[in-house]
Symmetry: C2
Subunit: 416 residues, 2 copies
């Protein structure tokens, strides 16, 4: 196991962040372009190193999904470069004035966006996050300390080596990108409490990784979370909209956080539309885990367990709950939702308003799919994650979520 | 020691927060007015209960400053009522639309402000915080769980009893205000990890209280911090502005967080203006703790210790550091500042720009006193504290800091 000096790396990042924060948008954009070119140029090297991770992973017997996320190809490295080049076209939030006013005494107040400083990124064995997160951090003027899953260590080292060499030809200090290159778990723990040098931790991955960070960190955390999302089909739901949205939210990409995991169905709607609902489930091979009424109504449904209500299936299965009014749906979501994305399908404005006002989530939908909770779908261009916390940023987080503000006061000798 | 069921109280607050979040501004304003009237009406009762705390405090031999903060008078209770009535005139942030756009597919996106939910307030033996924090929480649609210093328990119980009785005559659920009425320290600890029921913790008080919360909480914390503020008098500082601002920032209210604790003086300015600076220190009885050059220049100055540079004096003492350029000032602030409020006094635009851009703090000043870092001075009307953290809110926090946002999507069957 390689020993690394996490504190020193964080200090180097912090020092580099000072210069980086002062760069002009053009300087940062030029650097992103140079990084993109370098990654493309060094694809062969990156793939050779990635193969080492893949072979070790095969020996360890990881799942197919895990191996797929770990695997790089020429096309995927090209996607990295494309992603970095897309950042060039996004507005730079740094320097934006959020508010500006003059006090009666003549002192001018200007609230401007400034970079957070140093971002600590803690993530699983997904080399794409190494590039995505670095690009977002640099564009928003932040240094970054990367701690990716140990099983992607060779891939991450190769990617960061290429980026470091490329940064030499830019105005961004090379030290602004730090990879904690070790399989030592203690190294990650050190990041949790390095408040002096790291301004924010962003965990990206499964629930247990996120909980470990949240429970152990004294550095502030931007929590990106699990989405146990619900579609509520109201008594007054339009049949076609309801089935379209349900199937889209469940099957378009079942493994992502904005996919639907439970459908709550009004008993009267179910009675009238039972056959079509069953046909839709069958057509898309969706396994139903239902409450008593759903099991009775839907052939092949199995009784839902507490875990089925509370956790994501992340596959072609869905929990079905039957309620008698919108309040029943709101209460169920209150109990089991993860405050990510929740939808009501109805033509009834009163029911829609009750749902939209009372459901506590980052995004609430009336007659649309939960799949739109996504930075690129909403037009943010890129996202560092989807926040399910309430402080700082809620929902998809674009570049502004990686900034803070500073009050700049200009006076002429004003005192209180 | 009274045992309390902290979890149950937090649950009651959470339940109450649901209804409170939906109230109209007028309903909340009417409630604030009723609370204000009740506190005034019950002044005698509150003072009798406060006397119990004062007598216990006297026996325990608390400092004069501590006793002063604990003591209530008819005038102070009147101030409570006035504070609540002032909140009525502030804009209600709940329901504000921060951004709104329509996707190409016709789905409408609206990002609106909503209450955080339940605020956990942890503070010292200052009964005024009980009223101030409750007022701010209720106006912004939040329930509040109060845990004030044990030495103010009788006062806080009396205040909350009066507020509870008054809430019966309002649309705000009585359970929206919870006092953890115990001297049991474990009760406070329970609040730290009650993520299911409390949305944010706000510690208000000295450094050790804040650190205890930050280090032990898994609930997100809004950190209000210590202000080790600096005034840098540049080579090109105007003498009159420099002395006015320095004396104002040091002496106007030495015990508050936006008071100056260190003055950094350019060596050339010091040489030219030494006599006036010494006269100003003497006139205001300011004890100087200096570096070698300052001790040499200023009669009566004692050598500054590491603690003098790093911590607040909160009284009529100041650390004096002599530097040879603006970078020396920036570096000193980088090392010892607490990212609160920092000022440069200069007529030189280049020096001012370097300082304003490079110093990392909630508020940076050019030719004005650090004393303006304050919600009421900046026109926010009221503040829950001054944030020295970078996430969510930075600097004085008014009502909007007690809200989060929610994306409300309105569609017509849109899928991805």
């Amino acid at each position: 196991m390689i020993k690394v000096d996490v504190k020193q790396q964080a200090q180097l990042a912090q020092k580099a962040s000072k210069g980086l924060a002062l760069l002009a948008t053009e300087q940062k954009n030029e650097a992103l372009s140079i990084l993109a070119d370098a990654l493309e140029r060094e694809t062969a090297y990156i793939l050779v190193e990635n193969k080492k991770d893949l072979e070790a992973g095969k020996e360890k017997g990881f799942t197919e999904a895990f191996m797929d996320r770990l695997q790089l190809t020429e096309a995927r490295v090209k996607d990295f470069a494309t992603g970095l080049r897309e950042l060039i076209h996004l507005d730079d939030p740094v320097g934006d004035s959020l508010a500006s006013w003059t006090l009666d005494n003549g002192m001018k107040v200007d609230q401007i966006r400034v970079p957070l400083g140093v971002i600590g990124m803690i993530y699983e064995a997904r080399p794409n996050v190494t590039v995505d997160a670095t690009g977002l951090a640099l564009k928003s003027g932040n240094a970054i300390v990367l701690k990716g899953g140990s099983n992607a260590l060779h891939s991450n080292q190769a990617i960061v080596k290429v980026m470091h060499e490329a940064l030499n030809d830019t105005d961004i200090p090379v030290d602004a990108v730090q990879l904690i290159a070790t399989t030592d778990r203690e190294a990650t723990g050190q990041l949790f409490t390095m408040k002096e040098h790291i301004d924010v931790l962003i965990p990206r991955g499964g629930g247990s990784l996120i909980n470990t960070v949240v429970n152990n960190a004294t550095v502030p955390v931007l929590e990106t979370g699990v989405g146990n999302c619900h579609i509520y089909i109201d008594k007054d739901a339009d049949k076609e909209k309801a089935l379209n949205i349900l199937i889209n939210a469940k099957t378009d990409r079942p493994a992502v956080c904005n996919a639907a995991e439970t459908v709550i169905v009004h008993s009267e709607w179910l009675k009238e539309n039972k056959e079509e609902l069953i046909a839709a489930f069958n057509e898309h091979n969706i396994q139903v885990h239902g409450d008593d009424k759903a099991v009775e109504a839907i052939p092949g449904a199995v009784p839902a367990t507490e875990k089925d209500w509370a956790e994501e299936f992340l596959g072609l299965a869905i929990a079905v709950k039957v309620v008698d009014d919108v309040q029943g749906a709101i209460d169920h979501i209150e109990e089991y939702g993860t405050k990510h994305s929740e939808a009501i399908i109805t033509e009834n404005k009163m029911a829609a308003a009750a749902f939209m006002n009372q459901v506590d989530a980052a995004a609430v939908y009336h007659n649309a799919s939960t799949r739109f909770t996504d930075g690129s779908a909403l037009g943010f261009g890129a996202e560092i994650g989807i926040s399910t916390q309430k402080l700082h940023a809620r929902g998809p987080m674009g570049l502004p979520a990686l900034t803070t503000t500073k009050y700049c006061m200009t006076g002429d000798g004003q005192i209180r």
